[in-house]
């Protein structure tokens, strides 16, 4: 082996050993700060994408307005003068006096009364980090109870050795988010008895509004990671709209053997009352 190659191999091996050591000794705090940085990049990029979308819409609508104005002008210049000018018919009824032939009273059609339905209250999910006693493992369900589907082929488990975020508690189960790998996370439920006694966790309040899937989409329990699908929901699937989380809608769906909760992109679902 050449000297240069030997040195390269040795340094490469040292670099890999140092990295392995770093991986093994990664602390909870380092992981948490890294997640925060990742989220910061995520939010910045989303803001930029939104800005871009708005400017594209403005640009397109500006062009459309100018084109429409030009068309109207061209049409106005070229159209032939009408032979008979017919007055516009207004939706009015006129009562004429038998003596003076003057209109006595004019009833103008009144616009239909718009009934504004109250905007349904849709809660926004929020989570915070909770320190669990280390060394415990809990079964994770997609909903608050053992009757709900359990992810990972009925084997989903969370270890309390890593970070866990808690959204709240419902029906004796705590809604949590945790990391499976560096790129995969899961939102699910564990027995609320697992929560440390000092943890202040609020009750979950969901809207349970009827919703319908507008186009085929994945239902996932990992909206911020790899978005691994739990199920594929075809268009027209009916579900319950529970809450929102950024650009995701949290749904409960009864289509399979067991009920399941998960996230779909907000663009793929609408409230049924909005028909």
């Amino acid at each position: 082996m050449k000297q240069e190659d030997k040195l390269k191999e040795a340094f490469s091996s040292v670099a890999m050993e140092q990295t392995e050591q770093l991986e093994k000794t990664l602390t909870y705090e380092e992981r948490r700060k890294s997640e925060a940085l990742y989220k910061h990049h995520h939010d910045t990029a989303l803001r930029l994408i939104r800005k871009q979308k708005v400017s594209i819409v403005k640009w397109v609508s500006g062009i459309a307005a100018v084109a429409a104005a030009v068309l109207l002008i061209v049409w106005g210049v070229n159209r032939p003068a009408p032979d008979i000018i017919t007055p516009a018919t207004a939706p009015v009824s006129t009562v004429v006096s038998a003596y003076t032939n003057e209109p006595l009273q004019t009833e103008t059609a009144t616009p239909a009364v718009q009934t504004v339905e109250p905007t349904p209250h849709i809660p926004e999910l929020k989570a915070h980090l909770v320190s669990f006693p280390e060394g415990m493992r809990y079964a994770v369900y997609t909903g608050p109870g053992e009757r709900y589907e359990r992810a990972n082929h009925n084997k989903a488990v969370v270890s309390t050795n890593d970070w866990i975020e808690v959204f709240g508690v419902e029906n004796g189960f705590a809604m949590i988010q945790y990391a499976i790998t560096s790129t995969q996370r899961r939102v699910g439920y564990i027995d609320a008895a697992a929560l440390p006694t000092h943890a202040s966790v609020t009750a979950l309040e969901f809207s349970y509004l009827p919703a319908v899937i507008t186009h085929e989409t994945d239902l996932t329990d990992d909206p911020f990671g790899e978005k691994t699908p739990l199920h594929i929901l075809p268009a027209s699937t009916e579900a319950k709209w529970l809450a929102t989380l950024d650009d995701w809608v949290y749904l409960e769906w009864y289509g399979g053997d067991q009920p399941v909760r998960g996230f779909v992109p907000a663009a793929a679902v609408r409230l049924k009352s909005a028909e």
């Binding site: 670099a15 770093l22 990664l26 925060a36």
Partner: protein, 182 residues
């Protein structure tokens, strides 16, 4: 979501590779930077600098297996973090060093390196000072030229060359001692 700098990569394959690298290892890179700098904002800067440096080495990264690629990302961010730390603390110790080369006997060096196995070299690498190890890591692991090293460290190419050569001699000295059973 990814740092915006990745969106500037024009080639789709390159961008996909860098995106995957960032998604897989950003937590390790950040943790490594945080350990050197002990400051979240500075660590973020170090990660950004590292991504910029990694983009320049895409062709090299493409031919690595995933473990080596991970190590490459971590070592790169470590070097960036050390650079940032030095810049902030105005650590000029390294800048003041003499440019004189240690006299060398290339035949002896060749013999020592030929005789040593990879494991022995590894053990000697661990005994090197951090400065020596880092500069040799730049040369032999990150496969950087003198010009690239000098640019990254903000020093003259001649200084980079002297420093690399000196670190290499320190390594050989350690191997000689091992060979002599000292």
């Amino acid at each position: 979501m990814l740092p915006l700098i990745l969106t500037t990569i024009e080639n789709n394959d390159d961008r996909a590779l860098m995106e995957e690298l960032y998604l897989r290892y950003h937590h390790l890179m950040y943790a490594q930077a945080l350990r050197v700098l002990n400051n979240s904002y500075a660590a973020e800067d170090a990660v950004s600098d590292a991504i910029e440096a990694l983009i320049k080495k895409i062709s090299l990264l493409r031919n690595m297996d995933c473990n080596k690629r991970k190590a490459y990302a971590v070592i790169t961010v470590r070097h960036m973090a050390i650079n940032l730390y030095r810049r902030h603390s105005r650590d000029t110790v390294l800048e003041d060093e003499s440019l004189e080369l240690i006299p060398s006997n290339s035949r002896v060096e060749d013999h020592v390196l030929e005789a040593a196995g990879v494991e022995e070299i590894k053990e000697a690498i661990y005994q090197l000072s951090e400065n020596d190890r880092d500069i040799l890591m730049m040369r032999f692991f990150r496969e950087m030229s003198d010009a690239e090293i000098s640019k990254e460290l903000g020093i003259l190419p001649a200084t980079a060359r002297v420093r690399t050569s000196r670190a290499r001699k320190h390594l050989i000295k350690l191997l000689e001692r091992r060979e002599a059973g000292l």
